[in-house]
């Protein structure tokens, strides 16, 4: 079947999401697109392209500001240095991404996004919480991080808009300890590990690379009432193959294509 000839009605979707697949951008418009990932432009372009939501990689500064950024060190992708946790927001707010060279894309805080974005009630945001902290006081760090997300959620009434994603079960447990109905996704190394943790902790779902999960495994997760979000989908072919596995959410690097296919 020609890829370009695929249409929504060609797919027989059966999942826990009302038999529809939610289209989320991967860090906005995705990897390899013409916006740096996790920039405001990329996130908003994704939402303005008709996606149901976007995934974002987030970290926290030492003064408890939530920032969208993927890498462990600022110098990996910006003109800054060190880790975000070792800086205040004031120190890093004017940093710019390395590429492209003639256009300055800046870091942004989640406060900046949610304080200004219009009509987000029907939009979902997956917060992929990067936990780059291996010191002895890791619990205090996790607690600060969870409190910051909890405050943001309360301030902008986001409890039904957020999916919280992490490979760290201690971190996810702190959200459960709030007593609030956070939608928590484990981000495991393998499907087997993910389904074990998700069941043991009564989580909402599993986020995993598409190459690491099969259609049968997604069905197994659904049988345990676990939603499945899959990602690492760079080509049209990969996105079509992903649809056929019946996930609940696809975090795609081909936002416009997938929206056109599924919406």
């Amino acid at each position: 079947m020609l890829i370009s000839a695929c249409r929504r009605e060609d797919f027989d979707i059966v999942n826990l999401n009302g038999n529809a697949i939610s289209v989320y951008g991967h860090a906005g418009m995705g990897v390899g697109q013409n916006y740096p990932t996790n920039t405001l432009e990329s996130i908003l372009k994704c939402l303005n392209s008709g996606a149901d939501g976007s995934e974002m990689d987030i970290q926290i500064t030492k003064d408890s500001v939530l920032v969208a950024y993927h890498y462990k060190f600022l110098e990996e992708d910006t003109n800054g240095e060190g880790q975000i946790i070792n800086h205040t927001w004031q120190e890093i707010k004017d940093l710019t991404y390395n590429n492209p060279s003639v256009k300055n894309y800046k870091l942004f805080s989640l406060e900046e996004l949610f304080s200004k974005i219009d009509d987000y009630q029907d939009i979902k945001f997956t917060l992929d919480c990067k936990v780059y902290y291996d010191k002895e006081d890791w619990l205090a760090y996790y607690q600060m991080y969870v409190r910051a997300i909890d405050r943001l959620s309360d301030k902008y009434n986001l409890i039904n808009n957020l999916h919280i994603e992490s490979p760290n079960t201690n971190f996810l447990a702190l959200f459960q300890a709030t007593g609030k109905d956070y939608k928590l996704f484990i981000y495991p190394g393998t499907f087997e590990e993910g389904i074990e943790w998700a069941n043991n902790m009564n989580l909402y779902g599993i986020t995993i690379a598409s190459s690491k999960i099969s259609k049968a495994q997604i069905q197994e997760a659904h049988d345990h009432n676990l939603r499945v979000a899959i990602w690492n989908l760079h080509s049209k072919k990969q996105n079509i193959e992903a649809i056929r596995k019946n996930p609940d959410i696809i975090q795609t690097d081909k936002v416009k294509y997938l929206v056109k296919l599924l919406k």
């Binding site: 405001l40 908003l44 372009k45 392209s49 003109n79 003639v102 300055n104 900046e112 200004k116």
Partner: protein, 143 residues
């Protein structure tokens, strides 16, 4: 020797790619000086999906020495009119900037014209404050 070149440059002083025209304005034996102007863009539509193109104009003076196989060096400005987001209100805003550009590389061009090729190190000083390593490959036609 022909005086005009039209070429596409991948990467280079136009950002990720540009369409360029160059004309020889001075010649002395095997040394030629050319004036270059190009055009490029990053986005035609901005993040609100409104037609609002980024405009990038690489301009430079390029000197090259040699017969068919030449060494080339250049200096110029990349003038941009770029659409950014304003973090305080999430609206698009257009800003103009100038970046210094340099070229040092290899140029292939026969006196009688035809195929043109360039491979060069093309660093930029972004907004005259940040040195950026970069490079570019050009292919085109001299006439």
């Amino acid at each position: 020797m022909v005086k005009n070149v039209v070429y596409l440059q991948a990467f280079g002083i136009g950002g990720f790619g540009s369409l360029n025209y160059e004309r020889i304005i001075y010649r002395q034996k095997d040394f030629n000086l050319g004036a270059r102007i190009g055009i490029s863009t990053y986005h035609i539509y901005d993040f609100t999906n409104t037609f609002n193109p980024d405009l990038i104009f690489p301009i430079a003076l390029n000197g090259h020495y040699g017969k068919t196989h030449k060494i080339e060096f250049g200096i110029g400005q990349t003038i941009v009119s770029i659409v950014h987001i304003v973090n305080s209100d999430l609206k698009p805003r257009r800003d103009a900037n100038i970046h210094a550009n340099f070229t040092l590389g290899y140029r292939y061009q026969k006196k009688e014209g035809g195929l043109f090729f360039r491979c060069a190190y093309t660093p930029m000083i972004q907004e005259y404050s940040r040195y950026r390593h970069w490079g570019g490959i050009s292919i085109g036609y001299a006439f």
